[in-house]
């Protein structure tokens, strides 16, 4: 895989960040799961969020399209504050692609229908147009020949690639990946990561929660390290992996790199 520019600065940025989180707080009862989160993601930037389990990475990811509500703070997408509920929120979500750990393909729809449902029902595209674009995307992620099958007939890696195609079919401004390879058998992880690296190279803005350090090194513009609900450290991948500042990050990297 080719390595992206090392710079932490946003490539091709227009000054205003595409995603901005300021002062975000969230509690589950007494548990403080997001602590005063400040994060800007520039257009075209690939941000990888890593950290130990329970650090709040997934919650952060899901808060960005309001699958999780937040208690305090603001989240802006392309300069617009996140709406509370209803049609406006639905419109915003259409612009944010989401890939889940457990794929969540629509079990009663074929692979192609999974990819075209959003464009037809939300973007109001014609079925022919949506099918054509859907097939292109399925070819691009390498599952074009499976278009007529149901999700349950596919392997995990294939399902996750369909899920990526489904998100891409909405022409999103930003893609969120919530541990996209954690539920996969090892031999299938690469086929999904390859698709993600390809996306990054095409300039897609991506926020990726993952344990795949290889992906972080090769594809990320920036690594965000979280622990106990807070962002502890932000750095370019090279700096982070070779010379982490915080003790928490050193400890974390020490544990995972031993194996």
């Amino acid at each position: 895989m080719t390595v992206q520019e090392e710079s932490a600065a946003a490539p091709g940025g227009t000054g205003q960040p595409l995603v901005r989180l300021t002062g975000v707080q969230k509690h589950y009862g007494n548990l403080h799961v997001l602590k005063d989160i400040e994060l800007d993601v520039a257009r075209g930037e690939v941000v990888v969020v890593i950290g130990p389990s329970g650090a709040g990475k997934s919650t952060l990811c899901r808060a960005i399209n309001r699958l999780e509500t937040i208690d305090e703070g603001d989240i802006f997408l392309d300069g617009q504050p996140l709406p509370q509920e209803g049609k406006a929120l639905a419109r915003l979500r259409a612009d944010v692609g989401m890939v889940f750990q457990s794929f969540n393909l629509f079990a009663h729809k074929t692979v192609l229908e999974n990819v075209t449902l959003g464009p037809i029902k939300v973007r109001k595209k014609s079925k022919a147009e949506a099918d054509k674009r859907g097939k292109e995307l399925l070819d691009r992620v390498g599952v074009g020949h499976q278009a007529g099958k149901y999700p349950a007939q596919l392997s995990g890696g294939q399902q996750q690639r369909v899920a990526i195609a489904r998100a891409l079919a909405m022409d999103p401004k930003v893609m969120l990946f919530d541990e996209p390879t954690s539920a996969l058998d090892p031999e299938m992880i690469k086929e999904v990561l390859d698709v993600m690296v390809d996306l990054a190279e095409r300039g897609m803005t991506m926020i990726v929660v993952t344990h795949e350090m290889g992906f972080a090194r090769t594809a990320a513009n920036r690594v965000v390290f979280m622990a106990d609900g807070a962002i502890v450290e932000t750095a370019d991948p090279e700096t982070f992996f070779t010379n982490p500042e915080s003790d928490r990050a050193k400890d974390f990297l020490g544990k995972i790199l031993k194996h």
Binding site: L67, A90, R91, F100, F103, H108, Y150, Q153
Partner: protein, 231 residues
């Protein structure tokens, strides 16, 4: 068996009422029950509350009381169905869909809808949360999430309990017999009154027809279940 054969036209007519009560209340309760289920799992608290209230009130009330309400109490508050008067002529006599039939059908529909709602809700709960999240993530509003993603899958999981509800409905139509519709059960009691010596053949004949009707519903449900099953 003579008395059964002698009255075959009257029996056929009676079962026509039974089947019509079943079909109209079956379709009506499916529609109303689906709306109620949508209210109960939806995001609007007032509707959730109203849906739960409806189910609690109607499901916990004996059917006969629900129908008596529409037959005898509703007319007192000027809720009458006198505008309904459809006559379907048949070789065995007219089938009359009148105010009484309408009141009984409305009662059966409203009662059964509470059970349809709960059967669907059990199906909705069986659909993994991730399905709805994925649908929301592609930008579908609540209605779209329900219509395109959750309900089709919930319906599949709900077919066995829904079939039970509809089977209960066809048997519950006999309650309408005591309240003004000349359906099968009334005809059976009438025949027994005419000729009590033939009690057992009459009983067997009516039970057999009910068994056939219920088997048709079971068979249809089974076929439907297989058709919507995903490999």
């Amino acid at each position: 068996m003579d008395v059964v054969w002698e009255h075959r036209e009257a029996i056929a007519l009676a079962f026509a009422y039974t089947v019509l009560l079943f079909l109209i209340a079956g379709v009506g309760s499916t529609i109303l029950g689906t709306l109620l289920a949508g209210m109960r799992v939806g995001p609007i608290p007032v509707l959730r509350w109203a849906g739960a209230g409806y189910v609690t009130l109607v499901r916990n009330t004996p059917l006969v009381i629900v129908i008596i309400f529409f037959r005898y109490a509703a007319p007192k508050i000027d809720l009458k169905f006198n505008f309904i008067d459809v006559v379907i002529p048949t070789g065995a006599g007219d089938i009359r869909l009148n105010n009484i039939f309408a009141a009984c059908t409305v009662g059966l529909t409203m009662y059964t809808a509470a059970f349809v709602c709960e059967a669907l809700r059990s199906g909705i709960n069986a659909v993994p949360l991730g399905q709805a999240e994925a649908a929301r993530a592609v930008g579908m509003p609540f209605g779209g999430v329900m219509r395109h993603v959750v309900l089709p899958q919930a319906f599949r999981a709900s077919i066995p309990p829904l079939a039970n509800v509809q089977i209960a409905l066809i048997k519950n139509t006999t309650v309408a017999g005591a309240l003004g519709v000349a359906e099968a059960f009334v005809r059976m009691r009438g025949l027994i009154n005419i000729d009590a010596t033939a009690r057992i053949p009459i009983f067997i004949a009516f039970a057999a027809i009910f068994v056939v009707l219920v088997e048709i519903i079971s068979f249809a449900a089974h076929r439907l279940e297989r058709r919507v099953r995903v490999a």
